[in-house]
Subunit: 257 residues, 4 copies
């Protein structure tokens, strides 16, 4: 059968990224407590395509991924990228994967356990060097400092999503990132809280009011002081309870205006 | 050209609903203040198909809709349904449309104006009789009564979405539904609030703590006492600030367990 | 601490459903090939609330779910529902759960294996009796019979999503539902296809053109003839390649116009 | 009342972007045929925040936007950005807005008219200079060249989304971008097609098979040859009818590997 993709292209235009997008695949990721966790990845797998070829070979992306037995670790990502470059005769390879990650947490006073879900992901590229970014989304509670200050009673508060991306010099567990982010908010949130826990979270959060600006800076302070973290991007989106839109703040290391 | 759709089907299975889904079309709806409002509808247009025919004629759904000059009112919906039944030789026709609707609201103390957006919709059917349901989604603020009661200071609160559906004996404006729902919550929410407004909303909501159960019942009380409303379904989903899931309550008129 | 939820409510309005929504939790479901499959559930857990009580106890829903060790089978669902009714002193309990489910499939000619992902779910209720519905979403290929008939060459085709719900007299595997649905379409689809497989799927689908009406009827024919299936609802949504909207057909057993 | 936001911050960390996100507002955009089109914008409005201030003033973003009477043109965007910088004492301002845009198109043979919807947007920044990017998403039809070549009959095809971003030296209408993109695909798609139109589109597309790689290159060829376009990014995502994931290609001007 003719290999249409391998035919010469005369338009003289290289393609930056080509491949498959939105592929769901079962994966196994590292878990600090249980060593391994089964979860579900949503993958984008891309390579570059030189100007001389008409198309890439889409089926090979799946073959490479499938060959790695579902293991998705930083080390494994580099191996997937190398295999993609070889299988597709490419110079650069890109793999991103998003996955839900579960942690068993105990309520702060009652100690009762339950699972909390975090949207995590990896962004990786291999050209000459291997680049790897860890993404973690942490839901937290933010109490508005302005509302607390100007009101005779109460203070508006809400769930906020903190999206962090980090490059690392050495391993930082997802669990550690979550702890740092929760520590930077008005209070952490939980799947299961009994009444005594709810009282505690309500009071702690009221005592620690935080704007989205505060949360982003507090996370950055913690990341700056961790020598394992070489780069970070921190975004905070607060689902304002008094509005139907979000408040947002973003700090990226090394980015000027 | 052969009309494959009109060919006889021998499988002896009537189809309950067939047509097109997810069609975006510019529309004009009634506006209490400005008479008319331009907005964007997302339509589902379905009819039944008797067991004897292989297929419906999809293009006619668009032709019927387009012929009505974008006007979407209760009266107009019935006319669209009648035209669909005729154009497609059907017994029953169904049209649902969802659209964002904007209202200019003034902040409670400063009086400054801004637009608020509400997801609205119509669900309509014509068999022998014409059935019409108005849908309105109203974002509100809910302060947790339990959290307030058990805590020495503060109370967790959050944005909650109140989804109501009503059948009417006579016209009820979208604006009236929104006012009834906002009145049933801890406080209304706004796109633009200056500091004095934020203080007001914070204190008012703290003085009116409401569970999702309370909000649903308070809305129902208002609907029960409005003779124009003959049927209702009220759903409240609160984006709990202390959890990463929603609290939910639903009351439907005439529904037992 | 005061139990605000248990206080008497004087509004005299029972609530049909109250509980938690959108809770993500790790689960284990039955797998025809491997006995068990780890996946991720998104849960809604509701009970009724009599007119005399102000609120339900939201934390107990999570406690009940957590106590079942993540197992989600039809039998286990009934046990969760019973526990919810007891823990929350309710008459009726409702649990819905949606989850991705993976099946290893071999390409039709090359035989190469890969995982395919299917969105599945359970809808269950316990009042006096236990009611259980299995949901499966199957992506398939549909070639338009009209386009093929009237065109001198080619025929437009596209991915279509077939959403089925079934009530069962005895166990039907998710895998069996998928096979019946794929058999009813122009062709099944795969995550990984080599060139010889792509040729096969292209030709097979061209030889079996199917409207959404055809697919829905063909699925129903297979379900009618399976004594294990006591009720079904079949929806087909075709992501029309020549339009930016969907074609849709729906057949529900026992539903008249 | 105390202005908490204006207080001095001692953490010494400037914030790259702070403001509001996901704000829906009614807007009026330019329309080549009808001069003006009412539509609905979803806005992100951000500024930078120097290290010395604790917070920005969120309400002023809405005030600035509201003051511009809903007009959203390139010229107007610069004015919004300037007003944001002044109102918030910022150095840089960012505004992005996404909106649906409708065009009346006539079917290729029958000539019957209907509206097609396109997701469009603007990305604008003002620091010392004003930067403006136009985004347009164009759904098209792609027939797979490989499938056509290797199969004895038929060829798999599908809806593909072409997302383009352009910077301009002088005005390029959204309508012109759409025409260039449709011309680069196997065939354009329409909301309403009668049988003779469907035959035409089926045959034209079969005669013009295009990979995602082909479509991206063909769009780039057209953009390279238009002196009004100074920069482009072209992404093509094809909703593969034989898979449950997308095929993807991306070319960005000036980007190396």
């Amino acid at each position: 059968m003719r290999d249409v993709q391998s035919e010469k292209d005369h338009r003289n235009i290289p393609i930056n990224m080509v491949g498959i997008k939105g592929l769901k695949y079962p994966i196994i990721v590292m878990d600090r407590t249980n060593k391994r966790q089964h979860t579900i990845g949503t993958f984008n797998l891309f390579v570059d395509l030189p100007k001389d070829f008409r198309g890439t070979h889409m089926s090979r992306f799946v073959e490479v991924l499938d060959r790695h037995n579902m293991k998705v670790t930083p080390k494994n990502m580099e191996s997937i990228l190398d295999d993609m470059r070889e299988a597709l005769k490419a110079t650069v390879a890109h793999v991103t994967v998003d996955f839900p990650y579960f942690i068993r947490k105990n309520a702060p006073i009652s100690g009762i356990g339950s699972y909390s879900s975090y949207n995590c992901g990896f962004i990786s590229t291999k050209n000459k060097e291997f680049d790897f970014i860890l993404k973690v989304e942490v839901p937290v509670l933010t109490v508005c400092p302005c509302s607390k200050e100007i009101s005779d009673r109460g203070a508006h508060n809400q769930r906020a999503m903190v999206n962090v991306q980090v490059r690392m010099n050495s391993l930082v567990w997802i669990e550690e990132i979550i702890e740092m982010v929760e520590d930077a908010a008005s209070a952490p949130i939980f799947t299961l809280l009994k009444r005594e826990d709810e009282k505690f979270i309500t009071e702690v959060s009221y005592d620690n009011p935080r704007f989205v600006e505060d949360v982003s800076r507090e996370v950055v302070l913690r990341f700056m002081n961790d020598p394992r973290i070489s780069w970070y991007r921190v975004e905070v989106s607060s689902q304002e309870s008094i509005h139907n839109h979000e408040a947002y703040a973003c700090i990226e290391k090394g980015k000027s205006l």
